[in-house]
Amino acid sequence: MNKLKYFYSPLLALVLLYGCVETNILDKVGLTTLVGYDVGTEKKIAATVVIREVNPEFQSNVEVLTTENDTSKGNRIEANHQLSKKVVVGQMRVVLFGEELAKEGLRYFIDTNLENASVSNGIYMAVVEDRVAPLLEYEYENIEDIGQHIFRLIEQNIEQEYMISSTLHEVARDYYSVGKDVAMPIIKRDKELVKLSGVALFKDGKMVSRLPATDSFYVKIVRDTFKAGLYETILHHEDLPSALQKITTDDMTVAFDAIHSKRKVTLVNAANPEFDLNVKIKARILETYPDINQGDPKSVAALEKAIQNKLAKELEKVIAQSQKVESDIFGFGEIYRGSVRHAQLTKEKWHEMYKDMKVNIHVDFVVLRNGVFE
């Protein structure tokens, strides 16, 4: 017992002393939920932060602040100068970049967030059409907490697989990979709403082009395997197989739910990069207009064929556009690096080769079932 006392008393003292470290009490801190960066007018970076202040008595309020400084931490100091509560970043969920800044390059922002231990690697990154500040500062009628709203918007769409995923980890991995480029969602304000409006293509961490939001489906099926995603397309009349051309004289709209999609990329020619891209999609037909008889194996086969052709065409278009701007968001370069020994691949070298790369697209579309009413 004596010996125990001997050890417990200093231990107890130390435990109590640990209570003296810097505290972060919820109603004394301002939680940064979202940060947006723009190119500054006077200094390098203009940062717009959405800060949630939890108030024990009243409803918690949300403040949107814009500051300008040369570094992101400098902006944090500036923000602190304007607030009664300490600014902390542990609850940050989203980082947004203005279009102009994205075109200048995001390397600094990727590194500074990776370096900070209190920033999670799971935060989302996105590009804003035009500047970030007006998007965040606008007084929306129905949106109370713009930070939370944008986070939910992006999270929901990524989880439902409508949009490509762009967490800090994925952005950083693609940025530092020799054979892959960064892609991020684009958001914009549309009257009283915030919406996802496209996919930004990057080359060496600089935004070079964009694709419309509907194309994110094609980007997703080539980028990785995914499970569920609603998709709607128009099959033009002249592209329809003859079996279906009989049914309608007009274009045909089809909506389907991709239950499972799998992609396989193989390098067939290393000298002049040529890839075989096999995409296999198992889907559920949700809607066709005009109606076709889905009990008939022939017309289903014709429909499958029509969708396959359509998808292959669209994929070709999307890949061609990314080739034009030398932004390999699909990761063909990684496959190349993994298949060719001693390739000594560098980013520049791959971008050069990517421009003239050939891809043979094979889509295998299988209709699993339709709804409960034929």
Partner: protein, 373 residues
Amino acid sequence: MKNPLQLNPKDMVNTYLLFFVMHSAQIGVGVQGFQRIVFQDAKHDAWISVLLAGIATHIVTFFMIKTLEIYGANDLYGIQQDIFGKLIGNVLNILYIFYCFMSFFSILRNYIEVIQAWIFPSISAWFLAITLLIIIIYAFTGGLRVIVGVSFFSVVLSLWIIPMLAFPLKFSSINSLLPVLETDFRSILKGAKSMTFTIIGFEILMVIYPFLNDKKHVQKYAHLSLLATTAIYVAVMAVSITYYSNEEIVKTVWATLTLFSFISFPFIERFEFMAVCFWMLIILPNLCLYLWAAYRGAIRLVNIGHTKFVWLFAFFIFLGTLFVQTRIQINAINNQFANIAFYAIFVYPIVLWIIAALKKKITTKKEQKNEQA
């Protein structure tokens, strides 16, 4: 064969516990960030380097056991005294005690650095050092059996961390490992050498050997524990290579912890904060065992009680934490220490075995001659 240890059966431990002792002595602070060091040389074949380092530990341990078997019930300190004589043997013993001290210090300081970098940037190193030292002293004064108990619980209670590796797998692409063996063999070996700091710890066998009650099964449990360690290291390495891209892994200081930074549960947002705190349990046996190994050496040299020794030891460690403050200093110490450890752990035991075997041959011949005469 001089100086065999006279041990009370009460002080002995079950041989199967050697598995936990060696395993917990190996896994410590190194595993938090060994990826970048190995990756620098071996690139995406780094997992092969890890595997090779693991195989090397098996070979070295094999020779260690061979050496120990020649002497029956003696530890490294006694063996050195016997082989090299009182004077040189004692110098080597002092060096080995110093090695234990350095090992203890670098583990402690690295862990404190992790705490400071991840959770509490404002707590000073000496304060954390005192807290940890008091716990370690407490465990140490309980004797070997308590330390072995700490090792056992450290391994069993941290088993749940291994399944956490499945979370990052969601973002992994197996393509990152291809093409296998693209890096030339020299670089892979260089990578394996960089594993030294992470993989050492199994040398504790040289000190704990006389305390094991069933010497016949030592080989089995020792190699089993090395196998477990190697498997964990290879798994962590493979997951890291597939999770990060090439450049990124070199820049990530504690890749294992960053790996965890993605994991979040409804009840805990940032899993790696838990992991950092929990790591104390993982390094605790590390520290206790090195302290104990140093103590075993010290009592061969001078007549010193264990309380007196432990306070003295702790005092010098504490002094060290006052002087080593910056990341650059810590890294310099790690590199120096890893260099020394490579020769002390991977080269020296084999040399020792050769000498011990030769000596045994000569002495048995002499004895035979004496008998004949």
